[in-house]
Amino acid sequence: MRIELNCLQKIYPESKTGLGSITAVIPPSQWVSVLGPSGCGKSTLLKLIAGLEEKTGGSIEQGFTKKEISFVFQDAALLPWKTVIENITLPLRLRGVSRSEAEREAQPWLKKLKLEKFADHFPSQLSGGLKMRVSVARALITKPKLILMDEPFAALDEPIRIELGLELRELWKALKPTIVFVTHSITEALWLSDRVMVLQGQPGQVALDRELLFGIDRPLSLRASSDFQKTVEECFQLLRSHS
């Protein structure tokens, strides 16, 4: 299933900001990163795709049902009164899956995201990186076909960002969902995704839309390659020229 955005627009009447006219097609299983300065409508784009916001113009076509979409927020958005395992199993429990069945489903995700030791911990007992792992596990437990991620690693320090980025890329390779990944980090966007869209202006417009041909495997060393650095520089200049 692909996502088609045709002159998609969302303008907030009070601030006149939001998303300008965006046209793009996102094929199935593609990992698209959306870059851009604050206020250019990156998060708005995610919310429009998710159906959390009403568009003010254009159209959006995507065949995913709500059950096939997962959303990962910037600050993990965990229920503070629920344990790690209860947070991860929440989407299944809301679908009427029994507690034992949901917990059985959660076991592989606890293992994959290195959360086994923390299953009975509460969010207040976890570090920022662990909270984000829980949030990712919660997003993946329903085996979504589309994952929308709104600056998921923004609050994390660099080593944890890299570690989680590598893990997420591995999970994507295994499951092949479509991912729309909003970030402020050029390096992260280029390293993790197959395509980068740079938004500019207020309301935001697409300033650059490029496929990234760095191969399926993305070792950390890729970030030091000249091709990679050249693309980073290009994005950087583009973002700087519009800032």
């Binding site: 998710a50 959390l52 997962s70 959303f71 927020f73 958005a77 229920l79 009164w81 809301l94």
Partner: protein, 243 residues
């Protein structure tokens, strides 16, 4: 029990000081009875105080129980939509501002001299903190969590019982803690008019210039308030743990 010794220090100091001041005639006994005289007063007429204590306890527990049930139900309705809240919340404020001492005679006309008047008085005084705190808690659920539940296709009852109510639990319990003390005050005011319970005892003692009996009744009313507060605090731990 460990936490009890700190507040016990000022209590012991004030009691000893009051005992000394009255015993040595610094303060006349008709203004401030010696604490030993107050305890003697209770010991001399245990049946009278027990009966009054139980009457006030039953009335204030009933008033508080009504406040919890009706207050929570009202809060759920008020928090359901902004229109409903804007229409009816000002009327809920009425219960906060109503001078209970002024309308207590009205309650006697409507409900007669007896338990219903005392319960109604207790209810009127104690219901508002529960409504106000519950509405505040129910409406302050995290926006990201609300978006998350929407993304997970949660039904309205699921949003209420899995998110809004657990989130609001600390505020609701805070409201009940405040209401517990107010329920006793409301019951005592009602009893001034109806002539029953500790309030009735205070009224009779006041007419007879029995300051020691007034103090004894006030002491027992305070004890009742503390018992309510302690019970709710104990329930708070259980409820917050089992959200």
């Amino acid at each position: 029990m460990k936490a009890l010794w700190k507040p016990m220090i000022p209590l012991v100091v004030v009691t000893v000081l009051a005992e000394c001041l009255t015993r040595y005639g610094v303060v006349p006994a008709f203004l401030l009875p010696a604490p030993s005289q107050v305890f003697k007063c209770i010991a001399d007429e245990p049946a009278v105080f027990k009966k009054a204590f139980l009457e006030t306890a039953i009335a204030s527990m009933s008033g508080l129980g009504m406040s919890i049930v009706i207050g929570l139900f009202t809060a759920l309705i008020l928090s359901y939509s902004k229109l409903i809240k804007d229409m009816f919340y000002p009327y809920a404020l009425f219960f906060q501002t109503v001078p209970i001492i002024a309308i207590a005679p009205l309650l006697v006309i409507w409900l007669g001299y007896g338990l219903p008047t005392v319960i109604a008085s207790s209810f009127i005084v104690s219901v508002f903190p529960i409504i106000a705190n519950s509405v505040l808690g129910l409406l302050s659920a995290d926006r990201q969590l609300l978006a998350l539940f929407k993304m997970m296709d949660a039904t309205q009852p699921q949003v209420l019982f899995k998110l809004r109510l657990p989130h609001a639990m600390p505020q609701i319990i805070g409201g009940v803690q405040i209401a517990g003390g107010l329920a006793v005050i409301g019951a005592i005011v009602g009893e001034f008019i109806s002539g029953t319970g500790l309030g009735g005892l205070v009224d009779v003692a006041r007419n007879q210039q029995r300051v020691d009996q007034v103090f004894a009744a006030v002491l027992m009313a305070s004890l009742l308030g503390i018992l309510f507060f302690s019970f709710v605090s104990g329930a708070k731990k259980f409820l917050l743990k089992n959200r």
